[in-house]
């Protein structure tokens, strides 16, 4: 590994995009670019993290994200320890702090944590001395998802400064949306949001986004349509009346696809609800880059692990220009 930009400040953890500055985001994306051939297996696994133990602490089910992190760590030759536990620590009678101290005692070098509880990775970072990588916490942050998304956008659109991204759907319950808006803002993109008013976070205007009432109106102007997953059970809590009404007003279908400019792309963090926020035709069209997002996710997660583990301490000085 050579020629990785080392000017940005090192990251002690990756807890949320709001901890990063633009230079740090760019470094992650540039690093991922270099690692992409390994992620796609055009090049062989590298021994960069040999001897390091990465713990995947998954306190919420997420097979896709866990596998992605698993692959990322293994392509860098790290040892991977999977620690899955459903439900809260308290249900087992121990405190979350006890769980953290148990990991500490096992001597892991990095913890990748997924939790249904907003803020759990921050708490873990207080209890442990090793780098913590947030793999999604509650409705709060999902930084690697946002990073792989902007990485994918950058590969299609080049520099994102001045580009226009519309995020559609359930922002209220979305950790992806929070990270996404922050990452795009750091890279100078313009962000619009369209959603049923019930699924907008309170005071979302404070996020520096533009609220758009009508999806059709904004589509001709955007470079990216970013669709968020809508959970069908939301309609039972009166967030919206039916999936039919949702898809008619906020879903991406063939008619809306035709409103897009020529190089605009359609993205989705997965898993998709075909027929709700995205129609089958859109999902399968050449505008949709959803499977690319998945592949890029491995490279971006490799970059994050590399920067948290290998680029720390002495190696930083070595690589300094």
């Amino acid at each position: 590994m050579t020629a990785i930009a080392t000017e940005p400040a090192p990251m002690p953890h990756l807890l949320g995009i709001d901890d990063l500055d633009t230079a740090q985001v760019v470094r992650i994306l540039d690093t991922a670019e270099q690692l992409l051939p390994i992620a796609t297996r055009e090049r062989n696994t590298v021994p960069t993290l040999r001897g390091k133990v990465v713990c995947n602490l998954f306190l919420e089910d997420s097979t896709r994200t866990r596998i992605s992190f698993d692959l990322a760590a293994k392509r860098l030759s790290a040892e991977v320890l999977n620690f899955s536990a459903k439900g809260s620590s308290v249900s087992k009678g121990e405190s979350f702090k006890d769980t953290a101290l148990t990991l500490d005692a096992m001597g892991v070098d990095c913890v990748v944590v997924r939790s249904g509880s907003s803020g759990a990775p921050l708490q873990l970072a207080r209890y442990l001395d090793v780098p913590i990588l947030n793999a999604g916490d509650g409705w709060h942050q999902h930084p690697t998802q946002a990073l792989l998304d902007v990485f994918t956008m950058r590969r299609h659109l080049g520099d994102l400064a001045g580009r226009h991204v519309v995020i559609v759907g359930d922002l209220l319950h979305s950790r992806v949306a929070r990270s996404e808006v922050q990452a795009l803002t750091l890279l100078g993109a313009k962000v619009s949001v369209v959603a049923p008013p019930t699924l907008l976070p309170p005071q979302v205007e404070g996020w520096g986004v533009e609220l758009v009432a009508d999806l059709d109106e904004v589509l001709p102007d955007v470079d990216v349509v970013y669709l968020l997953r809508v959970q069908r059970e939301r309609m039972h809590r009166a967030f919206f009346p039916s999936s039919r009404e949702y898809s008619r007003l906020w879903g991406m279908d063939a008619r809306r696809l035709a409103l897009l400019g020529e190089q605009a792309i359609v993205m989705h963090p997965g898993p998709m609800n075909r027929g709700v926020e995205i129609s089958g035709e859109v999902a399968d069209s050449d505008r949709a880059v959803i499977t690319e997002q998945v592949t890029n996710g491995i490279a971006v997660r490799m970059a994050c692990l590399y920067l948290l583990l290998a680029a720390r301490g002495g190696s930083d000085a070595e690589e300094a220009r």
Partner: protein, 491 residues
């Protein structure tokens, strides 16, 4: 064993000299000596020493010097409380200090019975004494719930045995806090604990019909109904104040409307049946306005501000330390300002701590799994002094009223929250309004450690507390429980 232990009373003669007496009952704010003998105030004013000296010495016991509790805070007691002991009169120099009636808290979670891992009546009473309190109203959400005279008497009696504060139990409005059937309000009111204040605190009484009937029934005894003002439908899954912070932190929000909708309902229902309503922990600008309006239209309502809602704001949630998790939640600086204004203009009648101890293993959970509540007894005066008095928002005499005569007007707390006058029980606190101190959660007397002020510098602290003429706090040291923590016979 005696079912109704007599109150422990100091036997010595004590002269508090040189202090500024703040007595809201009479409106006195003056430098006066206060003479105490046999548990009562025997004189206030220039002749206090002469009155004490004139008392028949044989009537006075050999002074009263309970052992100080070990393990909390440093040095042995300083000797300033008894520099001028002459003729068995203990002279306490109160120069630069305030002398006020002992504080009354309408809203304390003492956790006993059932929650002793977090607090019990002895540790909570010690925290109360350290905070300048002589009377605590123990909330009903214990296990078992305080919904029968038997539990109420147990709590009341245990307070008497510990004898660091008087404990006045709160009865639950509904059996088991279940929101359906009324507790035997008449029996609770008639028992030794004389319960005249009822609350399902912690759980809102959501059913409007049950609430209306509770208010109606309460009028038969003219007792107070206190409902936790929160519409539970509007707070399903709520974790913190709803607003810009909850939005960024990804936590489900507790909208201010949830408090105001329920409060508006309660005010309308209480006004309709002529019942007495007490509103605990008011936190929003809208709620303060609703209470002010109801008072103007003659609703028999009293209301409470907690210290934490006078100081803390929701940006403190940013690092997800569950010590900041509380119900109702800490809100915005605009809301803090409204609560301060409400306390200053009397819309909010009392400061109530909502002292809510939780064992560390429960607070060391992910934010969403941690319980709500924070410690408050030992920091209440300091927070009010720092936010309201030192800032000139509230004059000292009125501030003291919010801790004393205010709560005593809500429910009957016997000889507490009354005047500093001859013949009254000597329930007093001596405060140092200038003392700046840094809160150390591990040095507090509560068994739990969940103080949101840990590491924060506050100004003002009780120096001495007297319960019926006996020092429960002397020179900042809490006395040992009268029964040394054991249940004992009182002859």
């Amino acid at each position: 064993m005696s079912i109704h232990p007599p109150a422990v009373t100091g036997r010595g003669r004590i002269l508090l000299t040189g202090g500024r007496v703040l007595d809201p009952a009479s409106g006195t704010d003056d430098h006066l000596d206060v003479a105490v003998a046999e548990g009562r105030i025997v004189a206030v004013g220039p002749d206090a020493r002469a009155v004490l000296e004139g008392l028949d010495e044989t009537a006075a016991g050999g002074g009263d010097a309970p052992a100080t509790s070990a393990g909390h805070g440093g040095d042995a007691p300083a000797s300033s409380a008894r520099p001028g002991r002459d003729a068995d009169i203990e002279v306490v120099d109160c120069t630069g200090r305030w002398i006020a009636p002992g504080f009354v808290d309408l809203h304390t979670h003492l956790r006993e019975p059932g929650g002793e891992a977090a607090e019990d009546i002895a540790t909570g009473s010690a925290a109360g004494a350290a905070g300048g309190y002589t009377a605590l109203c123990a909330m009903a959400n214990t296990n078992p719930v305080c919904d029968t005279a038997a539990i109420a008497e147990l709590v009341w009696r245990r307070g008497r045995e510990v004898a660091l504060v008087d404990v006045f139990p709160v009865g639950s409005i509904t059996r088991g806090l279940e929101g359906r059937e009324l507790t035997e309000i008449g029996a609770l009111n008639a028992c030794a604990a004389k319960v005249d204040f009822f609350s399902d605190d912690g759980i809102p009484l959501a059913d409007s019909l049950v609430m209306r009937r509770a208010l109606q029934y309460a009028t038969a005894f003219d007792v107070v109904i206190c409902n936790h003002a929160e519409d539970p439908d509007l707070t399903a899954g709520a974790q913190m104040n709803e607003g810009a912070m909850s939005s960024v932190l990804g936590l489900a929000g507790w909208p201010h409307e949830a408090e105001e909708v329920m409060l508006a309902r309660d005010l309308i229902l209480a006004g309709g049946v002529g019942a007495r309503l007490h509103v605990p922990h008011v936190t929003t600008a809208g709620a303060v306005a609703l209470i002010a309006q109801a008072k103007r239209s003659g609703v028999r309502v009293t209301a409470e501000a907690t210290p934490h809602h006078l100081l803390l704001t929701d940006d403190l949630v940013a690092d997800y330390d569950a010590v900041m998790k509380v119900n109702p939640p800490v809100r915005t600086s605009d809301d803090v300002e409204a609560v301060r204004a409400g306390l200053a203009d009397g819309t909010l009648d009392v400061v109530g701590t909502d002292h809510a101890p939780h064992a560390p293993e429960f607070k060391d959970q992910e934010w969403e799994h941690a319980p709500c509540g924070m410690l408050g007894l030992e920091t209440a005066f300091a927070v009010v002094n720092t936010t309201m008095i030192a800032t000139g928002r509230l004059d000292p005499l009125t501030a003291i009223a919010r801790f004393t005569t205010g709560p005593a007007a809500v429910r009957d707390v016997g000889g507490h929250g009354r005047g500093i006058a001859e013949g009254e029980d000597a329930n007093l606190v001596v405060l140092d309004p200038e003392l700046s101190w840094t809160v150390d959660a591990t040095a507090l007397h509560s068994r739990a450690r969940n103080s949101p002020y840990h590491g924060r510098e506050l100004t003002g602290r009780p120096v001495h507390t007297l319960l019926r003429g006996r020092f429960t706090l002397r020179d900042g040291q809490v006395a040992a429980p009268a029964d040394h923590g054991q249940r004992t016979e009182h002859a």
